[in-house]
Amino acid sequence: MTSILSIALGAVLINNFIMSQFLGCCPFFGVSKKIDTAAGMGMAVTFVMGLASAVTWLINTFVLVPLGLGYMQTVAFILVIATLVQFVEMFLMKSMPSLYQALGIFLPLITTNCAVLGVALQNVQNDYNFLESIVYGITGGLGFTLAIVLFASIRERLAASADYPKCFEGFPIALVSASLMAMAFLGFSGMKIW
């Protein structure tokens, strides 16, 4: 139980996918203009990451490792992730068209979101069991959601009260605030859990 808790806390805060591993930065900057869409994107990524860790763990343990095909991990995992993203896209289009509209081009981009592949590969590297993998995937996604929602709220605030030089408008100030956020998350890095 403690290991699961430490994996969860580690994925959300200490080894946050965006803030300390710098994985999945594309949607982090692309879909963080509004809190609503950012939260939606975070949920979609969390869903895909959790599902991807489960499926990739099963495939890795029961297909790739027994057949000695460990070197095919990346290819096999990408296949799984691409399928899952397609599936999520169809699902969203049917059940939540407004969210589908808001996420727009970034939904297919989850396919190439390195956080999703990262979680699958790290599960293998860290020798997590099935439960741990799922927990790592979901909490990693939650960490992504936390970071992107915080970042979106900062950007909304920045857009409302532009108290910075005009030449910083848009992406420059977003990058500056993202780096400041990453520095803040650095504060967790020394933490040890049990």
Binding site: L69, M72, T83, F91
Partner: protein
């Protein structure tokens, strides 16, 4: 050898399996899309330039089908696209006037004076950062091609220090209008030939000092216009294209020759010849009248005696 076969088999089976899952999922989660949307999108140019104000051609197609945008909402496709879309939707086209971008400046290298030599970044924005550009006139086109870079259709080029729009390629997408840091590009109706080729709001003397052809704000064009279509706004004439009939009288009247179409050297020469001819005709008529009067006087003089 076996490992290769395994690898191929495993990935092949996985691909097949996932493909099947997706195929079923697409059946289960199929969403009914209005089939007119892709049909309308077929008619659009597909450049996704955003000139219509929607996010790409798909956005406009959806808006047109939903009735939120007019069938001629695409400035790039113009009348041809509007007709096709109207045919798809079975509605009438409301005629839209084709617009083109126009650079309101005649400050070519020979016309506009430079007050400094600029050797910085080859971009108007960069030049403006350095003491608001290198030309004496604060409103002049800097000719460093910010608009040229912004144009997705290759329709605007810097010629002799001033950006010129190629009317045949321009699609009125407004990218250059937004990009120009001097704000001297605007959309004008292509049909109407009359255009003001200056953006200087400075006083007459300043303009005289800075440019050989700039508008001095004399207001002759405003007085000449019979249709109340041209008005001075801050030392600069503004044409109201709704009222303008294209009679070109203002262009002929302009003493600085900056109103198109009467602003090219050939046209100016033609205009001068025309004016000289008119003046000669007037003179001749006056002389004739004077001679006739004299003759009349001469004829009536003996009668008095």
């Amino acid at each position: 050898m076996m490992s290769i076969v395994y690898a191929v088999l495993v990935l092949g089976v996985m691909g097949l399996l996932f493909g099947l899952i997706l195929a079923f999922a697409s059946k289960i989660f199929a969403v009914e899309v209005d089939e007119r949307i892709p049909a309308v999108q077929e008619c659009l140019p597909g450049a996704n330039c955003g000139g219509c104000g929607y996010a790409g051609c798909n956005g406009l197609a959806t808006a047109i089908v939903e009735g939120k945008a007019p069938v001629n909402g695409c400035p790039v496709g113009g009348a041809a696209a509007a007709e096709k879309i109207a045919a798809v939707l079975g509605v009438e086209v409301t005629e839209s006037e084709k617009m083109i971008a126009h650079v309101h400046c005649s400050g070519t290298c020979s016309n506009a004076k430079n007050r400094a030599q600029y050797e910085g970044i080859e971009d108007c924005l960069g030049a403006i950062r350095v003491a608001n550009g290198y030309k004496e006139c604060a409103f002049a086109c800097l000719g460093l091609g910010t608009c040229e870079k912004a144009c997705p259709f290759g329709a605007i080029h810097v010629v002799d220090g001033v950006a010129k729009v190629d009317a045949s390629k321009c699609t009125a997408c407004s990218k250059c209008v937004a990009a120009c840091p001097k704000h001297i590009i605007s959309l004008v109706p292509e049909k109407n030939p009359v255009r003001i080729d200056c953006s200087s709001k400075a006083k007459g003397k300043e303009v005289m000092d800075a440019c050989a052809v700039g508008c001095i704000g004399c207001g002759l064009c405003e007085k000449t216009c019979k249709f109340d279509a041209i008005h001075m706004e801050g030392n600069l004439p503004v044409i109201d294209y709704d009222k303008c009939k294209g009679c070109q009288m203002c262009a002929k009247a302009c003493p600085r020759h900056i109103i198109e179409p009467w602003n090219t050297p050939e046209k100016i020469k033609e205009l001068q010849e025309l004016k000289a001819k008119q003046a000669a005709a007037k003179k001749a008529a006056m002389e004739k009248a004077a001679a006739a009067k004299k003759a009349q006087e001469a004829a009536s003089a003996p009668a008095d005696k």
